[in-house]
């Protein structure tokens, strides 16, 4: 079956694409024979790129993200742009027009924000690797809910040039696949210093992949017993390690910083140079406000309000700057743990993929709380990976391994050992 036709047929049933390529251009190189999907927040030249937002409807980038050039150079065939929460704002991929459905049960979420990437990775019958992106857990969460592998690299190791920002100090491009060897193949292609990204890291990854000691994060075991048992049954030997600061304050610290950064990043969308346009009526304040109010979704508005508030005079010290200090302490807490352990472990998510009808009942705060396991490593820029650990009531459960900065290869190594 033609690959594009298969994508169209999967998409009809599951909503994994915002855009499907007209044809998949195959080439020669390390990715010959592979079909690559790209999360919609990453620019592919001449292919509509909306980051899941109505305000970017119609935007066709004039350039490729650095990683897309690398993929094309190695012969990877780009098949389209996958669905996501608007600008990455969400854990269930419901904050957008096109909502992807879980490959195991269509009444449930794929997780978010890289939901389309994870669902397609599980469902595609062809050789497929997904390019995804995480700010606070947007790779690990959907990988866990869809039963695939999701790698979030060390912050700065993969170029962000051509990524539509959510929060610059947190965004990381990563990889999803069914086979750890495919994750490794793609990671090795897309990583590396890029002078076009001012936060690109010019450091070598640690080549030592020996894993001697694993620490399970105590505070993360406070979940459903079945999920806890499934996760622990994947480990032969482990110790228990406590990370009280990350557990107690990680969520607040993450959301304050992420929303503050998001609200500044979203300031550029105003209906003038790309994306949604309106008739040029009123002065610039009226015009910009009209376009923004009309095209941003509800969660984007909520985050813009909160992010603007925490940076405002009178509140900045208590929220934004305080959170940046707490971030220092949380990073140190992880760094101390890595003096003793090669890898830290927790369940990826405290639950299995919920039903859409259950998500409808959650308040925004209850939504944010679902990220309790994943925000810590994201806040600290630590590489982490989610593997399938087993199933609860036929729904996948994820186990998350976290490594110290630049030790991404250990996360791949642990998967190879499992095979």
């Amino acid at each position: 079956m033609n690959i594009i036709k298969e994508c169209e047929s999967i998409n009809k049933e599951y909503n994994y694409f915002n855009t499907i390529a007209k044809d998949a251009k195959e080439g020669n190189g390390k990715l010959k024979g592979y079909y690559i999907s790209v999360k919609d927040c990453i620019c592919v030249k001449d292919m509509e790129t909306t980051s899941g937002s109505e305000i970017l409807k119609g935007y066709k980038p004039l350039f490729n993200a650095t990683i897309i050039n690398k993929i094309e150079k190695e012969g990877g065939a780009i098949i389209g742009k996958t669905t996501q929460d608007e600008f990455g704002f969400g854990s269930f991929n419901v904050n957008t027009k096109i909502v992807p459905k879980n490959p195991f049960d269509k009444t449930r979420t794929c997780g978010g924000s890289s939901g389309g990437a994870a669902g397609l990775t599980q469902k595609a019958s062809f050789k497929h690797i997904a390019i995804a992106e995480s700010t606070g857990g947007s790779i690990a969460c959907p990988a866990s809910f869809c039963g695939v592998i999701g790698l979030t690299p060390t912050y700065g190791i993969v170029s962000r040039y051509g990524l539509i920002d959510y929060a610059n100090s947190l965004d990381k491009i990563g990889v999803m696949a069914k086979d750890v060897k495919d994750v490794e193949l793609m990671f090795n292609i897309i990583k590396g210093y890029d002078k076009k990204d001012s936060t690109s890291l010019n450091n070598e990854l640690n080549k030592d992949v020996k894993i001697k000691k694993i620490g399970v994060i105590k505070e993360c075991l406070n979940v459903d017993k079945e999920i806890k048992d499934i996760v622990l049954s994947n480990l032969d030997k482990y110790e228990i390690v406590s990370l009280p600061l990350a557990e107690k304050y990680g969520l607040s610290c993450y959301y304050i910083l992420a929303m503050a950064e998001a609200s500044t990043n979203l300031a550029k969308y105003c209906g003038m140079r790309y994306g949604a346009h309106e008739e040029l009526n009123g002065d610039f304040n009226e015009y910009f406000s009209n376009v923004r109010s009309r095209y941003f979704g509800k969660e984007a508005k909520r985050r813009i309000i909160l992010g603007t508030f925490t940076r405002m005079a009178g509140y900045r010290d208590a929220y934004y700057l305080k959170a940046a200090k707490v971030r220092s302490l949380i990073i140190n807490e992880y760094k101390n743990a890595f003096k003793k352990y090669d890898l830290l472990v927790s369940p990826t998510m405290p639950i299995v993929a919920p039903k859409f009808s259950e998500i409808d009942k959650l308040t925004p705060l209850e939504n944010y709380m679902m990220d309790i396991m994943t925000v810590g490593p994201n806040l600290a820029g630590l590489p982490h990976i989610s593997y399938n650990a087993g199933f609860k009531n036929k729904m996948p459960v994820g186990i998350m391994y976290i490594a110290d900065h630049l030790n991404d290869n250990k996360l791949i190594q642990i998967g190879k050992k499992k095979e």
């Binding site: 004039l62 690109s200 003038m272 109010s293 909520r302 309000i305 700057l321 220092s328």
Partner: protein, 94 residues
């Protein structure tokens, strides 16, 4: 944390958003809920702790001040309908 209609309106106006009364009514209790949880970071002792704005140490990475190839005027204007004589056309400024 006191979150009232006036505060939300003020923040929204700073962020160039017009919120409807219905949106404000919906957001008010939600934002209060969220800010109450955010406020808990005040408990953490951060005396003598420096802020971290990046998770890893990053050296300034600036390119040489040299003219490089960039988009043509025509390309730069391709994604907008608001253009005139090779420029972006914006709303009234004064």
């Amino acid at each position: 944390m006191k979150v009232d209609k006036e505060l939300i309106k003020r923040v929204a106006s700073n962020a160039r958003l017009n919120l409807t009364d219905q949106e404000i009514g919906e957001f008010m209790p939600q934002l209060k809920d969220i800010l109450d949880v955010f406020s808990k970071i005040a408990e953490v002792d951060t005396k003598n702790v420096k802020e971290r704005f990046h998770p890893v140490e990053i050296k300034n990475n600036v390119r040489e001040d040299k003219v490089e190839k960039s988009l043509t005027q025509e390309e730069a204007l391709r994604n907008t309908i608001h253009k005139k004589d090779g420029y972006f056309k914006g709303p009234k400024a004064i």
